[in-house]
Amino acid sequence: MISFFIKRLLLLIPVFLAVSLVIFMIVHLVPGDPIDNLVQINSSPEQKAALAAKYGLDKPLYQQYAIWLGNALTGDLGDAIILRRPVSDLIAQNLPHSLSLGALALLFSTVVGIAAGTLAAIYKDSWIDRVTMTLILLGSTVPGFWLGLLLIMLFAVQLGWFPVSGARSWDALVLPVLTIGLGGVALVARVTRVAMMETARKDFVMMLHAKGVPPWQIELRHVLRHALLPVVTILSLRIGWILGGAVTVEFVFARPGLGSLLITSLNQRDYPVVQGALLMLAVAVMLGTLLGDIIQAAMDPRIRERIK
């Protein structure tokens, strides 16, 4: 198991290099010059060149990449051009908000999604299944920002149970978590249900019935365990999505977070921030899949065998 972990970790190095190169390049391929944003109108070409030299933008690209990557690995992501603060500070300020929102939303969608999917699979074709699946269909089609607005109108404005926006107290988390989590619930429940129904058709399940094992035990101890394998995969892929893609929800609730930081700095062409935030998200996605792989290996001996 430990050798598996180390091997998977080493495999991430080339992935990280490739991703970082793309992140570095994308920003240079986008039209628009950040220097133009910085200099005063009517500055001389010499002034512009001086500024470019200050930020290292006059060096060849490969050198810029090497410098940037070297610094990034030591935690120095450069200074924000517009915000004029170290990028690592900006990320450190925003990341906890994204993490708490993402972790809670992920937890919520995991627990509720698996429970709903299991119920729907066990009682398939009954009213329980139909009601659950209808809600799931609704949940997966309603866009997050709109659901967020509805929740604000009902629970914050009408009932006044939770704050409308911000991130000042714990109860400000409830509505954003619900907004992101419900979409996840739908996804997880659907995958759980289908995987359980697929597993239930396998020979070994018939054998369990032939052994006289009670149906609830078959469903929970055997079928669900198998069904969780694909669920772990989609959940691990969702980690990165929640951290970075929750931007519309962050926007609706006026919450700080990596997503809003990324969008703001993209609009301002604040390269160092964009690169830093993207790099953080890429690392989050990589760690997410790593975590997913480890959990799967812990659950399935066949995967452990394949890695050896």
Partner: protein
């Protein structure tokens, strides 16, 4: 003494009727062979006896199955479940897919005695280790810890047999237990299984399409053809004097040592498809002696000089 008595069972799945008037019985400690080609309804008969028919969408429309004096048809599922694994156990067709791939072998064997005999985890483990050793598997403790994918097909089938024996059942239903295995170990598995069954005085319903296995292992044989019983007799009589032309053909197909090269035989034609069974005797299109009567009238399963057969023209 009769342990299991199956009386004119008919089964329907949707609009199809894959089993019609299946009748046979198994005595205590008896090994009964159930033979027939693919599609003759052997596995379905096994499902009926296990009470697992509803799981594959089938229903018994007619007849009765009495096990140890108790009618199984109409018995609530919870009662059936108490019989399954405890008094009637199944050895399935494909050992490669019959074990849960992510659970240790040992736990899957232990599960049966914990469930049905109320053993503690340690007692169940000891019992499983003992059983695994009896199945002549080297290093039982290592196997107990292993996962299914680490074992060969033959080893897995031994484990499935161990699971079947774990709660000391009275009847074992073995559905083509060696079909999925290499020829080299088929005989070995059958031998071990028959030996254990005989030692314990268990009844065995051995489903196979291999007449060689039948000759080797069984006391009595039921021959199925296209969802009906063609013939039933004790082993000596079946081979010495088959009453049904289909049985004769089956026996003729057994390859013999010293047989001329290129003289391997088959039965001409194929088992009719369930969607259009022929009228009359279902074997008539493949039977060399078929008459007008065979094409029009279903032959009843009648007592002959010995055993039962369903043929208009079996002389004896």
């Amino acid at each position: 003494m009769t342990l299991l008595s199956v009386q004119s069972i008919s089964v329907s799945i949707g609009t199809l009727c894959p089993l019609e008037s299946i009748t046979f019985d198994i005595g205590k400690g008896e090994i009964l062979g159930l033979v027939g080609e693919s599609g003759s309804g052997k596995s379905l008969t096994a499902m009926c006896v296990m009470g697992l028919l509803p799981r594959i969408g089938g229903t018994v429309t007619k007849g009765s199955i009495v096990f140890d004096g108790r009618e199984l048809i109409g018995l609530p599922e919870i009662e059936l479940r108490r019989l399954r694994g405890k008094r009637i156990a199944l050895i399935s067709q494909n050992p490669m897919t019959s074990l849960d791939p992510i659970i240790r072998i040992g736990n899957q064997v232990d599960q049966v005695s914990i469930l049905h005999l109320g053993l503690s985890a340690e007692a169940a483990r000891a019992r499983s280790l003992d059983l695994i050793a009896q199945l002549r598997i080297p290093e039982p403790a290592a196997i107990h810890r292993a996962y299914p994918h680490q074992l060969s097909g033959g080893m897995k089938q031994r484990i499935v047999i161990a699971m079947a024996l774990a709660a000391d059942p009275d009847l074992i239903v073995a559905d083509e237990p060696t079909t999925a295995l290499d020829v080299t170990i088929q005989a070995q598995i059958i031998q071990i299984m028959v030996e254990l069954v005989r030692d314990r005085g268990l009844a065995l319903m051995l489903i196979t399409h291999d007449m060689g296995v039948v000759a080797q292992a069984c006391d009595r044989v039921v021959v199925l053809y296209a969802g009906r019983v063609a013939e039933m007799n004790v082993i000596g009589e079946i081979f010495a004097q088959p009453k049904h032309p289909y049985t004769r053909e089956l026996i003729r197909c057994i390859p013999r040592l010293g047989q001329e090269r290129g003289s391997l035989k088959g039965i001409p034609g194929a088992v009719p498809s369930i969607v259009d069974y022929p009228d009359g005797c279902r074997f008539n299109p493949r039977c060399g002696d078929a008459q007008e009567l065979c094409r029009n009238q279903v032959p009843a399963l009648e007592r002959k000089s010995s055993g039962l057969a369903a043929c208009h023209f079996s002389e004896v």
